[in-house]
Structure formats: structure tokens, C-alpha cells
Amino acid sequence: MSRYITRLRMRRTYKWNGRPVGEDRKLKRKYYESMSISVEGKTEDATVSSGQYILIEGDDDDNPFVAQLHKLYTDDSGKKKTAVVQWFVRMCEVPQNKRKLLGRDPHPQEIFFYQDRSCDNEVDGETILGAVQTAPATPRTPRHATPSIPSRSAPARKPGNVLEEARARLHVSSVPESLPCREQEFQDIYNFVESKVIDGTGGCMYISGVPGTGKTATVHEVVRSLQQSAEQDEIPHFHFIEINGMKMTDPHQAYVQILQKLTDQKATPDHAAALLEKRFSAPAPKKETTVLLVDELDLLWTRKQNVMYNLFDWPTRRNARLVVLTIANTMDLPERIMINRVASRLGLTRMSFQPYTFKQLQQIITSRLNRVKAFEEDALQLVSRKVAALSGDARRCLDICRRATEICEHSGSQKNGSGLVGMSHVMEALDEMFSSSYIAAIRCASVQEQLFLRAVIAEFRRLGLEEATFQQVFVQHQALCRVEGLQPVSVSEGLAVCQRLGSCRLLLLEGSRLDLFLRIRLNVSQDDVLYALKAD
């Protein structure tokens, strides 16, 4: 049965608002920002502009289509008006069998994003009825979720006094523009990448060094200054992407991430590998060089080593124009874990970042603090020397200095001394952050626990071994209880004491199912235990 249109059709006139905002001479189009619709009988004109949600004539006057207006244009003559839209569908327009895919009950006025190749995105402008208000529904469908953490209600407080300012500057995350003490390394990496970018060739470089020596930060600095050069047209433009082996759940995800960062496509690992293979093999004369930074390379190891093989093989292709910079911790990683063909493709361009010396650490802290006078000279020296002697890790050094400022602030609020961080604060911070807490734990243990430790040492001495069963130690424990004049403990209590010591790892125990015969070892040296117990 055909439908009869019982309502009078309102005549609508369409008019462009303002001047054209763009023109396409090839297609002979003029783009407009907005259009006004005057309806017969109504005094006010409706305006629709790009970006707004609009209603378009549908099959039925009660159910117009909803869409988001993207562009408005007209042809040369100015008569034909066309609109480019993004369609949305209502739940009632979705076929019955597909409604269950949502997994929940939709709001009656909810509309959904609609993308279908069969549907034309360009419509006659004169079918537009008017604008409509939309509000985002909660929750949104996950496919279009944007990752974000909500914002604060008020901005974070800025540092108030000198110590707070020093603390903010000493935080590991406030990386300076240019890293001190890494000038030579910066230059080498810069030259390497710059030459590859200018020549339009590819290459690999392997950077190694213990954690906290500035490898990733230096590479970022190199890329930043190269990007500045490129903006000033001194060198050709290049594309920088970065992946990290630890931020992936599986080595094959590397392909997925590289593809996404290069071309914004999502794909499965196998498909992504194939697409990248095609991209790097196909000749394309105007292609930009790609600079790829691979952090934590050793986690991309697989048994067949195909991920690493591909990463080092692609730069060798003539048309790839791929420069790969890899970072890891061990100097001999290629020799140790890579098979020959992979190691040879990695090449011999290697660079090793040495741990910082105490002078370098001192310079790093001083340059971070800049003009802020918060530390005494010898306090700084002490920290640098201590950390340099141990690991040469800049992060450790900065964290200790930050803790020292906290201690200074806390004690300062009680004593009103000089505001500078002195030797005593630094020594307290070093003590806290370098100490091994076993001795303190033994000193604070209960009487029976201390007695048990004594019994363990006595049994070890008797047996001449470093291991004893619980039964043997228990016999010694009972004897010690008698000597000390304490009430003897039952086996259950003795086992409980033993388990408590085992859970803090003062003792190393076998499984408790072995009962009387579980073997006990000491996790601390005997001298340390005796020292801790003696000090009472």
C-alpha cells in the first residue's frame, strides 16, 4: 500500500551565507561555510554550518535521516547545492538481526555512526531540513573510545619556596633541553642520522649502556634538533617513530605498532608485517626518510629471531630509506643472542654509553638546579661520589637529592635552620636509600624469633654445613630456651616462628608440607646476624 502524504509540503528556500571559504579549480567547486534555510510561513531562518548535526529528508516525514554536515559546495553556475555528510542511523533503522550486536538496550533517541560503501556521502543540499542538537550518550561504544585521563578541577600548585623549586627541577622527568656530559655522544649520533637523511639511504645503529646513562634522552635530543633543522629546510624532512620492547605484550606487536605509527592503519601482526615488507621494498622516489627508534631491543627476541631480522633487513633495501636506532643495556648483545645473519645486518655502527663519573653527576645536578641555590657544595660532592662508586646511574643520584631536600624541609620546619640542604640531610637520605634492612629487621624481631636465629647458627656450626632440617634446629631452640629461662615452645609454635622468619626472607625455607624435615638456610650472613643480635 502506498503512502499518502497528508501534510502540506512546506516550501523551503536555500541561500548561501557569506562568501565562499574555499575553491577547487579542478573540480570547479566553491565551498561555503554555512547555508540558511527559510521556510514558508516561518519568520526565522534556520542556519546550518559545517560540523553541525542536521536532519535530511528521509523516506517518511516523521523520520528524517540524521547526519553530520562536513562540507557545503556549489558548482560553477551556483545553482546546484551539494552537501558532504557523515550518516548516522537510529536504532529503528538497524535491521533486526544486527540489533543484538550492541549487547545492551539503546536509548530511544540514540543514534549510531554509520559507514557503508553503498551509501553515498554526497546529497542534494536542498534536502536539508535543519539543524538538530545532539549530546554524547554515556557510555560510548568502545570502538571510538579515545584514551584520556580526566582533568583536574584546578591546576596543580606551583612550587612555593626554594626547596620545592629545587625538587621540581631535580625530578627525573624534567629532562633539560640539552643533556650535559653527553656532547660527544650527541654529536656522533647526530652525524650518523643527518648523513643518512641527507643522502636518502638507510642504516642501523646499536646503542648500549647500563640503565640511567642518558641513551634514550640523547636520541630524543638528536631527533629534536634534526626536526628543527628540517623545519628550517636545511635538511630534507623525515618521519620519526618510536617503539619500546617493554611496552609491547609480544615481539610481533612491533609490526602492528610500526604500521600504525607510519600509516595509521590497524592490522594483525602477520598482515602488518606483509604490508611493511611491501612498503619498504616498493620504489617510491619522493618518500620521506623514516627514523625508527627501538628501545629495549632485547625484548624483541624470538626463537627464530624474525622480528629482529626484519628490522635490520629493511634498512638494507635500496628504496626503504629507513634508519633504525636500537637501544639495549649490554654491549655484547649482538654476539650473545643474535644469530649470525641478524648480527651482520645490525652492522658495526655501535656506540657505548659509559656510566657517569662523579664529576659528571655533579655537573648534571648543578646544571639542573641552574641558579637555584639549594645545596651546599660538599653535600653535592658526597652524593655524586657515592652514586658514581656504585652504579653511575643518574636517576639514582637525582632521586637521592630529591629525598635530601624533603628531609631538609621536614627538619627545617621544626628547627628553623639555614635553608640549604647540608651534609647531614644528604647522609640521612643515603642511609635510607642505600641501606639493607636485614639488621634492623633482626633487631626488631621478637624474642623467640631471635632465639631461633641463634639456634640456626648453632646448628650450622655443629654440623659444619650451611643447611639444617627444622627438627635439628628445633632441638637447639629448646636447649636455648632452657638456658635463657624461657618457657619451652611447642612444635607448632616453633614452626610458626620459622615460617614468619621465612616470609620476610631472613631464612630460606623449603615448602611447609615437609614439616619437621624442611631444610633451612640463612639468607643473611652469620656475621651480620650475630652483629645484629649482639647490639642489644
Binding site: 573510545a145 584520556s148 580526566p150 634492612s437 629487621a441 609454635e493 619437621l516
Partner: protein, 430 residues
């Protein structure tokens, strides 16, 4: 004139019990943790700086089991959330190494607790790789001054270090050291050697801040703590009852015998969890007819707690099984702890029956074997090699899981033990 209903004695007692039960069993947070002042201040300052200034930090709270790590954290978070600035801004994510046994599960839990946009209702969409990328992207987009700081609490931190590649730990600590959303990573663990579990990259990113909760209570402070744990708070509805109760508690703590009990308990372990189990057992003996705490209650509770579990099992054995145990004890004494088999035990038992016993029935071998198997089931006797036995049942080597002293003590209290069995046990030569 007073509009308050005066409560009956029964109602007072049950209300008092309810209050004390909440304190002792339900782990209600105290107003202020006992003897942990400096640690409390340190932790509170740290979290305040994260909430107010947006400074990222990481800290480990280390202490033996029952020393109050979770309690301390609960009190600090409670005070932090009472600050106006923190209340509306701080996002809290709580993870537990025992519940989230894998990084995949942990990631889903983080995403769900943060209500990120790939969560619909309670279900998290996406694969492990997608979830990780999504979370990292969300944290990366934030910045120090405008994003809400996130506090990650990782209970049983040492278990997270056993996950594959320590991916979650690396990523959380990396965010705490980069110019991204401000985060505070708090780990709670009882292992003192937890830092040795971390990989070198993860260890470098950790700020090596540790807060130790070693109990340095003296005995006098311990008794004081007992008194305050058992006292009723000042806002109890019936002040006459609560005054009388508190008075009785104070008198109780001054008694010599109670001090002995508490000292014995204090010598064994100083932590509050075991103290609470002792106090709970004694408080649960209070009733309407018995409306104050007596030393007998504490004595009984102490006896229950320090009882030897195996000795209690021995009291439930039959005479035949007990005789087998004694036979095994004799074998141990003779052969100096070497493993034995059923045949040897049976011979020993037969010797006793023939020479010394008058009251024990002469049981057949299969019956004795059945009794022996019952002891095996109770794991009072265990085979030396728990693998596949290639030997006949009777000749499999076993070990007794009881100490000499345990057997003797259990025998003393065994109900209606025949005298010849007792004498046999006490004799030096079988």
C-alpha cells in the same frame, strides 16, 4: 531528665562485644596507627605532594606479616581524601598480587577502575595488547599541571615481580619518571629482599624509597596497647557500663598471671594480628552471665592458641594407632632417626604384645595394616620418597612426623590411656 534510653545489661554486653569484634576481627581502621608516627607522616607527605603539586613518586612499604602495612595505607588514604584538593582530584587504583596473577588481568582491572573509555559497564573491550596500548596512550597524553593524579596501590608487590618481563611494573614506574600524568606507585610487601627481584631496568626506574614497618614496641607499650584495644570508646551509650568495663580491663592488665600470658605471647610474636586473635578468643567468652573479662578467659584463649596441633590429633587416635606411634618412637630412639617400614613397626608392636601387654588384644596383621594406613592418611607418618613406589606397601620406608616430646606430652593427656601402654612408652628399652 535524660532522654537517653538506659540500656539493659544484656544490650550493653552485646553492644560492647560488637564494638570490640569490629576492632579485632573486621579490621576497622583505628583513628591513628599505633607507634608508626614517622612512617605515617612520610607517606602522607608523599601522597599530598602527588595530589596537590602533581609530583610523581614511587615507594615501597616493607614490613613483616601483620605489622600494619595495609592499615597504615588505609589511614593515610583516609586522611588524604579528607583534604579538599585531593578529594575531587585523586584517582585510586588498587591491585593485589594474589588476585591479579597475570599482567593481562592486572591491565583489565586498571582499565576498569579508571573507567577509561574502552570500558562499557563492567566489561573491558580489547585484547591484552590493545589494552596496554590504550592505557599507555591515556597516561602519555596527560601532563603534570592539568591531569588528575593517579595513585596505584600494589598489594603483594613481590608477586608482580614474577610476571613475564615485569611489563606492568616497568610501565608504571616509567610513567612515574616521565613528564606524563602524575602517578604515585605504592607497593606493599613483606619480603625484605624485594629489590633483588626487580630487573635492572625496572630497578633503575624505581626511586628506591622504602618505608619500613619494624615494630619497636617494648613490653610495657605492648601491655598498654592491649589495654587500649580492649577498652570501650568514650562515646559508648551507657557511660556507667563502659567505665566499669574499662576499669576491669585496667585491673586485669595489672595482674601478674595476665602479664605472664601476655609476655609469653609477646615473646613469640610482636605483631598486632596475632594479638587480635588472642584478644578475640577471650572477648568471645564474655556473655550476659559473664559480663567482664577475667584472667581465666585470657588463659583459656592463650591455651587454645599455643596448643600443639599434632598433639590434639593424637588424642583422637585409637589405642592400636597410639601403640603404633609409640613403637615408631622406640624405633627412632634405637636407630637414631633412620627411616623404618611397616614390617619393622609391626615386629616392635608384636614384641610389646607378647612380653608386656595384658590389656591390648592381639590384633591380626591386616587390622594393624589398616591402622597404619590411617596414620598415613593423617600424615603423621610420611613416606621418604613420595614418588612412585616400586616396593611392596609393607616394606616402603617411612618417617614419623612427630617429635619425641610431642608424643610424650600427648600421652600424658590421652583420655583413659591403659597403664601398660604408658609404661611401655616411658621405658628406655623396648
Amino acid at each position: 531528665m535524660s532522654k537517653r534510653r538506659s540500656l539493659t545489661e544484656a544490650q550493653c554486653v552485646s553492644l560492647a562485644q560488637k564494638l570490640l569484634r569490629e576492632r579485632l576481627c573486621h579490621q576497622k581502621l583505628p583513628d591513628r596507627p599505633l607507634a608508626l608516627d614517622s612512617q605515617y607522616k612520610h607517606l602522607l607527605e608523599l601522597l599530598r605532594r602527588t595530589a596537590v603539586h602533581g609530583e610523581s613518586n614511587s615507594v615501597l612499604i616493607v614490613g613483616p606479616r601483620g605489622s600494619g602495612k595495609t592499615m597504615l595505607l588505609g589511614c593515610v588514604l583516609r586522611e588524604l581524601m579528607s583534604l579538599k584538593e585531593a578529594q575531587k582530584n585523586v584517582l585510586l587504583v588498587e591491585l593485589n598480587g594474589l588476585l591479579q596473577t597475570d599482567d593481562k588481568i592486572a591491565l583489565k582491572e586498571i582499565t576498569r577502575q579508571l573507567h577509561l573509555e574502552n570500558v562499557v559497564g563492567d566489561k573491558v573491550f580489547g585484547s591484552f595488547a590493545e589494552n596496554l596500548a590504550f592505557l599507555l596512550e591515556a597516561l602519555k597524553k596527560g601532563d603534570k599541571s592539568s591531569s588528575r593524579p593517579v595513585v596505584f596501590v600494589l598489594d603483594e608487590f613481590d608477586l608482580f615481580a614474577h610476571h613475564k618481563n615485569q611489563t606492568l611494573l616497568y610501565n608504571l614506574l616509567d610513567v612515574s619518571q616521565s613528564a606524563q600524568t602524575p602517578v604515585a606507585v605504592l607497593g606493599l610487601t613483606c619480603r625484605l629482599d624485594v629489590l633483588e627481584l626487580l630487573e635492572k631496568r625496572v630497578k633503575s626506574r624505581f626511586s628506591h624509597r622504602q618505608i619500613h614497618l619494624f615494630s619497636s614496641l617494648s613490653f610495657a607499650q605492648y601491655v598498654d596497647a592491649v589495654r587500649s584495644q580492649l577498652s570501650l570508646p568514650p562515646d559508648f551509650p551507657d557511660p556507667k557500663f563502659s567505665d566499669a568495663w574499662n576499669h576491669s580491663v585496667t585491673k586485669l592488665c595489672e595482674e601478674k598471671s595476665v602479664e605472664e600470658i601476655l609476655r609469653r605471647h609477646f615473646n613469640s610474636s610482636k605483631d598486632f594480628r596475632s594479638l587480635h586473635s588472642l584478644l578475640f578468643l577471650s572477648v568471645s567468652r564474655v556473655s550476659v552471665s559473664h559480663s567482664t573479662l577475667h584472667e581465666a578467659d585470657l588463659l583459656e584463649a592463650s591455651r587454645l592458641i599455643s596448643a600443639d596441633s599434632k598433639a590434639i590429633i593424637l588424642h583422637g587416635l585409637s589405642i592400636l594407632e597410639l601403640c603404633l606411634i609409640i613403637a615408631m618412637k622406640h624405633l627412632n630412639d634405637t636407630y637414631d632417626g633412620e627411616p623404618f617400614n611397616f614390617q619393622m613397626v609391626h615386629n616392635e608392636f608384636k614384641k610389646f604384645i607378647q612380653r608386656k601387654s595384658h590389656s591390648i588384644h592381639k590384633f591380626e596383621k591386616p587390622v594393624v595394616m589398616k591402622a597404619f594406613e590411617h596414620l598415613l592418611q593423617l600424615e603423621l607418618v610420611r613416606p621418604v620418597d613420595s614418588g612412585v613406589c616400586k616396593v611392596q606397601r609393607e616394606y616402603q620406608l617411612m618417617r614419623l612426623m612427630l617429635e619425641h616430646g610431642q608424643v610424650m606430652e600427648a600421652l600424658q593427656r590421652y583420655p583413659q590411656c591403659p597403664t601398660d601402654v604408658k609404661q611401655w612408652a616411658l621405658s628406655a628399652f623396648a
